[in-house]
Symmetry: D2
Subunit: 136 residues, 4 copies
């Protein structure tokens, strides 16, 4: 089951060339992932932080296909592509409606008390599994 | 008629003290104003830029009443408090639901060809007038 | 004694109109204030946070005089204009070399344990006093 | 010849977990690349934009090795790892002094008039060649 979100390109996302500044795409990716954990899996990052847990990015890569401009409507489609003991891989395709960028990455479930990876709790693992799709 | 928007506090808005970093409030203010011109007045900033027009901020000030935290739901209420020949004053109250910050500012309608202020076109003036309220 | 810093305008600061997006000026203001406490007063915000202290912004206002563009060299001049029991007022003038913006604001020394203002320690008060100038 | 830059972690870079928010690393990467073209190659992005040219990111990937915190001093080492007809690959290692992240990516020289890639001019190609190193 793909998780979907929409964002409108605003002044804060654009650069001097009049197009979306690519670090803002990573802010959007973070925003989509935060909504995924909060709205789809029911375990927001604030709740996790209170328990001394976090889900930082260990690796991310992106291919930028075409520029986005002010007021463009961007659709994000998030799929889980692998679930490990304490990490997970995802893929996000951003379209507008033509492809704008594709990103893949690895998130790790970390116990902030010792800074080490921690196995996914059952509830989160089950939630991730519901969004597992085949790698593209 | 007050224009209303909601934003959720995300990782991108917070700082090392765990609360919203105040420059991110100004990004949110810009976002709310962009949606106001686009969604309420029907004249988005992208459309204006194509015509060689922009509405930059000439003055802004804000009082920060209480900190906001990750995943807080922030409600923004925008009112127009003055309409001049080529500028307008606004007030934005942000609550969560207790007051978080109040901002007031002056926007100027500028012709980018010469960098000078330009009188509001009738359509924009009429739209602003519909959101005019008494100064608090 | 005025505290001075220089920043170069980069892609991350500009918007779709090709000029500095004003919320980025507030990021620069925060950056200059952080360097002031760290480099001029010898008490950086990281050190303060470790002691459970922070110096959040209570009020800020800015007048934007002229736009800044990519690769502009911006000079910031910070003066302290008032020192209260647990707060201080400052003024920052940004020039490039013509005036770009002027900001004034109030910082409050806060004890994070109870969220209340706390009197300036003697060392910080003495440091602020060395940068006290007459209000413009 | 490796191009080197230093950045101090500030409030604007940190997130609610008290560590650098990874999209800010991409802002830092952009900043380092801008300084590389401006200071090392003598052809800043503002100058290029005036000629209707830009050097957008086509692909980027990063591995995050360890978190960075407020006031950390981060050293960036940029090497060119491939020079194509109209693109180039780079590698940036960020240390503090232990490894924080490593990024690799592909920049493309684009003619903004038609949005297509354009061969590197001789001066830029020669400048890139001076910073060419073996892939790690």
């Amino acid at each position: 089951m793909t998780f979907r979100q929409t964002r409108i390109v605003e002044f804060q996302h654009c650069d001097a060339a009049g197009i979306v500044f690519y670090p803002r795409y990573f802010e959007m990716i973070s925003s989509v992932i935060e909504r995924f954990f909060s709205d789809a899996l029911g375990q927001g990052f604030a709740m996790l932080l209170e328990r001394g847990l976090a889900i930082p990015m260990a690796h991310i890569e992106a291919d930028f296909h075409a520029p986005s401009r002010l007021e463009d409507r961007l659709d994000f489609a998030l799929d889980i592509t692998r679930i490990g003991t304490s990490s997970t891989d995802f893929r996000i395709a951003c379209t507008g409606p033509a492809p704008r960028f594709t990103a893949t990455g690895t998130l790790v479930h970390v116990d902030l008390k010792n800074g080490r990876s921690a196995p996914w709790p059952d509830a989160l693992r089950a939630g991730l599994a519901q969004h597992l799709s085949e790698p593209a």
